[in-house]
Symmetry: D2
Subunit: 149 residues, 4 copies
C-alpha cells in the first residue's frame, strides 16, 4: 500500500522561506505560536506549545486550537508545490480528536496524498509529546493570483 504520490515540482526556495521565516508575527498563528519546523516534498511539520491560556476550565486545550492548527498546515504543505503568487484555500476538512491535550507541545504533520495544479488532498496527524491526539483529512483549492493583489 501507500504507493508514491505524484506531485507538481517542489520549490526548494519556497520551502526554505517557510522553514526559516517561520515565526508568525500576526493573526491566529502568532496567537497560537505555530512554527513550521520541517518542509519536504509532500510533507510539512508544524509545532506549537500548549500555552496555559489555551486550557479551558475543564482542564483541556480548546478543541478549536487543534482545528486551527490542522487548517494551517493543510494549506501550508501545498505552497512549495504551487506556482508563485498562487494561493491555497481550504475548502473542507474533517478531524477526529483522539485524546485530550493539557500540556507540553503539539506537532502536526501534513502529508499530501493527491495533488493536481488546481486541488490537493492532505492528511494530518497531530501528536502531543509523541502521543496521537488528532487526525484530520481535507481538501485545498489552488487559486491563481488576484489581480492587483
Amino acid at each position: 500500500m501507500t504507493p508514491p504520490v505524484r506531485l507538481p515540482a517542489f520549490n526548494e526556495e519556497v520551502a526554505r522561506r517557510y522553514l526559516e521565516g517561520a515565526i508568525p508575527t500576526s493573526g491566529l498563528p502568532e496567537y497560537l505560536g505555530i512554527r513550521v519546523v520541517l518542509v519536504e516534498p509532500g510533507r510539512l511539520q508544524a509545532r506549537m506549545p500548549v500555552d496555559p491560556k489555551l486550557i479551558t476550565r475543564i482542564g483541556n486545550m480548546h478543541g478549536g486550537v487543534l482545528a486551527a492548527l490542522c487548517d494551517h498546515v493543510l494549506g501550508s504543505v501545498c505552497y512549495p508545490h504551487m506556482e508563485q503568487g498562487w494561493w491555497a484555500a481550504t475548502v473542507e476538512f474533517k478531524l477526529n480528536l483522539l485524546a485530550p491535550v493539557s500540556s507540553g507541545t503539539v506537532t502536526a504533520e501534513a502529508s499530501i496524498i493527491a495533488m493536481t495544479r488546481s486541488t490537493a488532498v492532505v492528511r494530518i496527524e497531530v501528536t502531543n509529546d509523541g502521543r496521537p491526539c488528532c487526525a484530520a483529512q481535507g481538501t485545498v483549492l489552488i487559486r491563481p493570483p488576484r489581480l492587483g493583489g
Copy 2:
C-alpha cells in the same frame, strides 16, 4: 422531513447563564471575541467580529478561525441539555468553507440533530453578514464530572 428531535430536558438556568455571562474572559474564545447570543432548546447562536488581526495576507480570514468557532458552538449547544457538572468533548467534526470572509460579523448557528445522555450530533451553519460561509457537522461525547475536578 426534519422531524422534531427528542432531546434530554432543557435547563433554562444553564441557558441563561450562557446567554448572559457570555463575554469570554480568557483563551481562544476571548481572543476571537466569540459571544453566545441565543440559546433555545436544541439551538444556539454565537457571533464574532471579523477583526482585521484575523485577516491573512491573502485578504481573507484565516480558515482556522471558522473551525474554532464551529468547535466552540458544537459543544456549547449541548450544555443546557446535560446534567450539571458533566462536560461536552468534541470527538470529531467536518466543515465545508463556502465563501471567503474578509469583513463584518460571522454568526454560527448550531442545531442538535440527535442526542442521548452520552452523545450528540450537531449541525452548524455559519453566515457572514447574512451570506452562508461555512457548514459543519460533528459529534460530541458527554462525560461525567471528573473526581476532584
Copy 3:
C-alpha cells in the same frame, strides 16, 4: 438564518426526466431499489425499501447502504442545475449514522447549500419511516462532457 441559496438556472425537463424515468435498471441503484421521488430547485428526495437481503447478521442494515444512498443523491440533486452533457462527480462527503435501521423505508433528502458552475456543496438528511437515521454533507465537482463520450 438559512438565507436563500443562489443557484444556477433549474432545468425543469431534466428534473422531470429524473422524476419520471426513475426506476434504475442497472448497477448499485437497481440493486438497492433507489427511486428519486421529488425534484425541486436545490432539493431532491430519493427512497428505498429496507430489503431483508441488506440486513446483516447483527440485525441492522449494512451502513454501506446508507453511504451509497447519500452518494447517489449528492450528485443527482445537482443535475437539473447543470448544463446538459456535464456530469457531477462526488469528491468528498461525510456522514453520521444516527440510529440503526432494520425495516421499513429510508428516504434521503438532499439540499444544495452552495453552488457555482464548477462545484456544489450539498447536505443530506436520511429518515427511516420518519425517524432521522443519517446526516451527510459533501462536495460535488461539475465536469464538462468527455470528448467522444
Copy 4:
C-alpha cells in the same frame, strides 16, 4: 511521527475466521464481491473486482461502491480486538475520492489509529490497481451483545 498505537488484545482465531471464511454469501458484501485478504493487529485489507455492472453511464464506478467498501472495512478491522459477541457499529466517516475507477481491482486497507474498549478511530486507503483512489477516516462504536441476539 506515527507512534505505535496501543490496542486491546488481538484474537488470532477471529482474524483467521475472517480471513478464511471470507466469501460473503449475502447482502451488499456479496453483491460487491468484497473479500478480506489480510488481517493483522490493527490492520485489515479487503479487495473487490470492479465489475462492469457497477460502472455508471459516465464510465466510472459508482462512488457509493467505494463508500460501502470503506464502511465495511471500518468495522471489520476492529473485530479481532473486541470481546466475542460484541459488535462494531460505524457512527461516522468521511471519505475523499481521489481518482475515478473504471476497471481492475480495488483494495482497501484499514488501520486503527486509536482504540479503547468502547470506540475506535480508523483510517482507510483505497487503491485501484496500485493507484490511490480513495481515503477515508471514521469512528466505530463497540457495543455489548444484544440480549437474546
